[in-house]
Symmetry: C2
Subunit: 309 residues, 2 copies
């Protein structure tokens, strides 16, 4: 297992990328890799927000239980979720890529295009371009572009010791749905959460405009991993307490696409008034404090990823 | 072969995408799928130019003859070529995705990152984000973002009957290099053309600023296919004449990343003064005239793509 990617794991591979790119100098670059999306200044007072995520056969889906119309919708939504996780962001346009074997049923392609274009309309975004490629394994990728004012951006890095951790959106529901899909069991709510996650644009906009949150991330890689990413970026630690959270399944299974954010205690009453759906998840603590949750969550390169197919 | 993607071919699949997206309404959308890149208005007088292209194992490369450092460079360059093929475009930033098997040698990842980041510096662009994913087949994708003034854009659709077709850059050299790589033969010029194509920013800028070309495309899918794309977009036909072109191999093999463009005859003297490296390739003719070149070029879904691996 030495010198192969699985012996390193995703976190260390990403660290290498970030280390390599730390010295990027470009006047327009506001924020490079390492948050939910990158930021580029495109005009005075206007930030382009850009993110890319993929759905790969074997890692994110298997053809035997995949509805390609729903996969097309999910491909858009997981990327919109990353835009929303940057704060008050308005989606602009997307570029999509699809890799199919030459022997793939035409219906897969048609269904994928149907689902993707239906959700582009629903979320008022347009397909700006993309690519179609032949591959023996199915692979779908999407780049989402949005725009924001600099003041509307919420990064992962602003959490302070003493802040409270809160969340919105499902916890463990998508993982439960994936498990049902794989054993062909019925779980309509779980399966819908897995295929059609709701990007949390409204909640993120409220958090950014009302200056309620100090740090924001989506929980797509699992709750513990997301808390750990906020802690790492903010130079803090954290403890999780799920006793008041709407846990529907393993919250570290990933794919939920809810939001996790930190709130200073004096802003708590306002949070409850503005976003009553938010639920408590724990607190931010000083760096060095032991994180009261193992670093779990989804690692595609680990030997035992929680929801590895 | 009925009802599978290979029975349709890429051109008909793309037509279905374009037909589906014809009714996209979005105030900021200037140009959707169908040209070398999409166009989005991001500020008064400022156009965001965006494109996405991929390199897939089995379709574009095989691990047994791939230098991943060079693959990282190619991934950037093929996308920059699509930006250049829109006219006077300045690259801004890119998002990259890489799919590796968990058993892939760590060196492949390191080399890929080395090559990609070296060429990001060379072309003064920054990595804005991306994704890392596990897949049993290697797959690399990149979205390139650039900016332009509306007056600097050259589309595929402006060719008029009577215009002359000209080109810059290699013709058939990359296909020759690919053939050498596959049989482990020596062809340094061909292999470099295959792995490190030169995006034609300078030529495209001259063509746009001097208002020399009426239509512009890159020839990455082969010369005949590119001429056919200009003809289709412009409502014209064409004839190719390669007797004065620097043909180094099969010009329809694809992967050359030179430019093909149309020039009205009165501008020919100025073209020769401004861009002496340009060479004649034929002429644009009226719609309905028989295209004097079979519709060749690269079709990843055709049973016999010219350079199918």
């Amino acid at each position: 297992m030495k010198h192969v990617l699985s012996s390193l794991g995703e976190a260390r591979l990403l660290d290498r990328i970030y280390a390599r790119l730390k010295r990027q100098h470009l006047p327009a670059l506001v924020l490079g890799p390492g948050d939910d999306a990158g930021l580029l200044k495109v005009a005075p007072g206007k930030i382009l927000v850009a993110t890319h995520d993929d759905l790969a056969e074997g890692a994110h889906f298997e053809t035997r239980w995949t509805d390609f119309r729903r996969l097309g919708r999910k491909l858009l939504r997981v990327n919109l979720s990353d835009l929303a996780a940057m704060g008050d962001v308005k989606p602009l346009a997307v570029l999509a890529t699809a890799a199919f074997p030459a022997s793939a049923p035409e219906r897969w392609f048609r269904d994928f295009l149907d689902g993707l274009s239906a959700d582009c309309r629903l979320f008022k975004t347009a397909l700006l371009g993309g690519n179609l490629v032949r591959s023996s394994r199915l692979f779908f990728g999407l780049t989402a572009l949005g725009e924001a004012n600099p003041s509307g951006i919420l990064r992962r890095s602003g959490a302070k010791p003493g802040d409270l951790l809160y969340g919105v959106g499902p916890l463990g529901l998508a993982g439960r749905g994936l498990a049902a899909l794989r054993r062909r069991a019925k779980d309509p709510a779980g399966v819908t959460a897995f295929w059609e996650p709701e990007p949390q644009f409204r909640a993120a906009r409220l958090l950014a405009r009302s200056r309620l949150a100090t740090a924001l991330i989506d929980n797509s890689d699992g709750l513990s991993r997301s808390a750990w990413e906020i802690a790492r970026a903010s130079g803090t630690s954290f403890r999780l307490d799920l006793s008041h959270a709407p846990v529907a399944g393993n919250p570290d299974a990933g794919e939920d696409y809810g939001l996790l954010f930190s709130v200073p205690p004096p802003r708590l009453a306002r949070l409850k008034a503005v976003l009553p759906a938010a639920y408590p998840l724990g607190a931010v603590s000083k760096r060095g404090a032991r994180a009261l949750s193992a670093h779990g969550g989804y690692d595609p390169f680990a030997a035992k990823a929680p929801h590895a197919l």
